[in-house]
Amino acid sequence: MTGHDDCEKCEELLQGFLDRELTETEVALAESHLDGCSYCRRRYRFEESLRRYVKLSAIERMPPGLMERLAELRGLEA
């Protein structure tokens, strides 16, 4: 069983881990903690699926015609 302190550390590392912003050492630390802590593993999966879902949900295609209007702006002078 992993101690409370480790979970706090993991909480701190989780965000950077999910965002791929950790150093190699920190990644190893987070991974070894995740291996041994099912609570953090569940949280990790939850957070990961939430991020994926936010991204998919929020994606909206450009309205028709916008690309053409942007292309018409080419050549503008300062």
Partner: protein, 194 residues
């Protein structure tokens, strides 16, 4: 003007024209990604369209200040977020500006308690959320938080790029991201429980 000078000048003009066209093409190729971020930063599709057009107008006018080889998408988004601030669009859409402290954590914990471990355990609990609920939860985030969540989660920018775009320290990006996502989860959990 002597012949060789004219020739040199003509070459320079041609080279600049080529650089410019390349810049414009690269910038236009990023338009869908720029729009995607804009759409989540402002309230409506019309505003997002306006903002993207203003961004490209400014970008094409000031293309010389872009350093080739650097992150063009970040450069464009920096113009966009600055225009968004200038236009005061963010002000209309800030439900509250209070800093989030204990109260926020209290609420998030309450929701976690009410929903039980189940909410954390079930990946599917996320998938049960509707697309609309995510979009509206995102739009209701205070703007400081929304900006970083949109840039990192939807724009897929690194913390460093987001910090540069928003002109804030990287630590601020990290804490706003953390708080913004926490708020998002709370709002989604409330919506799901309702």
């Amino acid at each position: 003007m002597s012949e060789p000078e004219t020739a040199t000048e003509a070459k320079e003009i041609a080279a600049e024209a080529r650089d410019r066209v390349r810049f414009e093409e690269e910038a236009l190729a990023l338009a869908d990604q720029v729009y995607r971020v804009a759409r989540r930063l402002v309230g409506s599709r019309e505003e997002a369209e306006d903002l993207v057009q203003e961004t490209y107008a400014r970008a094409f006018r000031s293309w010389r200040s872009y350093t080739p080889g650097t992150n063009l998408r970040a450069w464009l988004l920096r113009i966009l977020t600055n225009l968004n601030i200038d236009r005061g669009r963010r002000v209309q859409r800030s439900p509250d500006m209070q800093p989030l402290e204990e109260g926020d954590y209290y609420l998030a914990n309450k929701v976690a308690e009410a929903q039980g471990e189940q909410a954390l355990e079930e990946e599917r609990s996320v998938e049960r959320l509707s697309q609309d609920s995510i979009v509206s939860a995102l739009s209701e985030l205070p703007h400081d938080f929304r900006d970083v969540v949109v840039l990192v989660d939807i724009g897929e920018f690194s913390y460093a790029d987001a910090a540069q775009i928003l002109d804030v320290p990287i630590g601020t990006v990290m804490s706003r991201l953390h708080r913004g996502r926490r708020r998002l989860k709370t709002a989604l959990a409330e919506g799901a429980a309702a």
